[in-house]
Symmetry: C2
Subunit: 320 residues, 2 copies
Amino acid sequence: MAEHERSILVVGSLAFDDVETPFGHARNVLGGATAYFCLAASLFAPVRLVSVVGEDFPDEHVQLLAARRVDLEGLQRRPGRTFRWTGRYRHDMNVAETLATELNVFADFHPRLPDSYRSSPYVFLANIDPDLQLEVLEQVESPTLVGVDSMNYWIARKPERVRDVLRRVDVITLNDAEVRQLCDTPNIFAAGRQLLELGPRAVVVKKGEHGAAAITRDGIIVVPAYPLEVVYDPTGAGDSFAGALFGYLSQGAGYSQEALRRALVHACVVASFTVEEFGVSRLAGLTRAEVDQRRELFRGFVAFADEPVAARLDTAPSAV
Amino acid sequence: MAEHERSILVVGSLAFDDVETPFGHARNVLGGATAYFCLAASLFAPVRLVSVVGEDFPDEHVQLLAARRVDLEGLQRRPGRTFRWTGRYRHDMNVAETLATELNVFADFHPRLPDSYRSSPYVFLANIDPDLQLEVLEQVESPTLVGVDSMNYWIARKPERVRDVLRRVDVITLNDAEVRQLCDTPNIFAAGRQLLELGPRAVVVKKGEHGAAAITRDGIIVVPAYPLEVVYDPTGAGDSFAGALFGYLSQGAGYSQEALRRALVHACVVASFTVEEFGVSRLAGLTRAEVDQRRELFRGFVAFADEPVAARLDTAPSAV
């Protein structure tokens, strides 16, 4: 399979982040959904980025992405300042508190795909205005697999547009709170089943420190989070999860329930690295070998041992 | 192995529960930690109960337990009324809100073990005053495996006595909030490691709809919850989890990391049945065959597929 046959197009934000967690503070660091997505996905496949930055976006960030073979032809550079997010995590690191959002150049962003991107077989619509996500879908030519993320902001303000997008994709990735909000039910499996009716092949629910689940027509997949003793900064966990998910899926001979299962495991593993350091620090230096090594450790933590012939109350007890 | 060589002694409460959830209301139903524990454990092994009830405790509840081969010689019947718990679960079914607790005959309870119980190889101290848990430990003769549960009430009021108990047991089962409270850290794996220093073989953390984890000197085990679309009443999930855990462990040729892993899976499966109906309704009719059948479904949801030779960026991509 040629490289371009597994290229992943991602469209969404690049940003400067100011993040505070119980473990410290990161100011003015590279952020935005696509930064995390690109670094994660590029462990598995070539990535093409469509995003926008301002004049203040430093070359070092561009070079970091370029060094990971991220195609930056679709990166727009505009007069003005780059999107900036200021957030905080307190004791419960599952919940990000947004302190400030400065859209800056992102306010007028319209995704424009370079001609070379239009035939990308894998397309991921990171969390942006659903109207912009639809603009992207107008510009791509029969992709193999399309994924989408969204957030509470759009689900509250443009629920019908969000649903319009969901109807046109193969894989929905949302966190558990977003799924509950969108479907107005507390149960993620019931919600997932409801979203399947919109047409996607898989609803992937990200549950932070509790792992992930997928609901498909073929059944359910549940994957716990990789156990970590310290989480320094949850920022980007979900975006790097999605990057690894799509990265893994793009490598294979095709989408299947088993491929999705393996992709989910890799997504949980990559996300576990992301949160071990602030911002993209850990992800930027991560290698595929480290991912594979942790995946094998993870397998040991999760493995369902084969069941021995069990002692039953109704039969003679036997040694197990 | 003779039946008595795998008998499980459990000490704790029997109660009347009044429970309200978003799905309905159960009034005056059989409750208390040991009701759930006994019904779950007795799927795997004979159980011996030490508890106390009042004159209002109906024969039908006694008969329900007796029919499951629960030895009731240690059940005290006292003048007065049975312990009563009134609680409510709202939208977030992970959190029980206690509306009223009437200790009644439980206020003066002191566990007294019949002579026939003292050599029980498996002992489980359900959630009661840690001073009473210590009284039980004074009355047993060199058990094979001792487990304990506790709750936020005792951890807040008698933290040192709780720790005294934890020093004398093999398996600690607590929910995630209790572990965090006891260790003053938000991370359950760090907390588990801290509790291991008190001496137990395993710290089992119950995470409700997110499953369970065990921290031992041999490593970590993580098990997601069995995926359910509807949870009617979470009451007793943790107690039936503990019952199945000890029931499973009592069957085997001995405690090991692998036995613990399989026991955790069975514990999650049994708890998943418990919450599908109000009170003990589902558990009371549950069979071992149903447990085994759901365990196999669960295996399919969780299984880590073997990793195929993966396409790498640094090697020629290959079909997966």
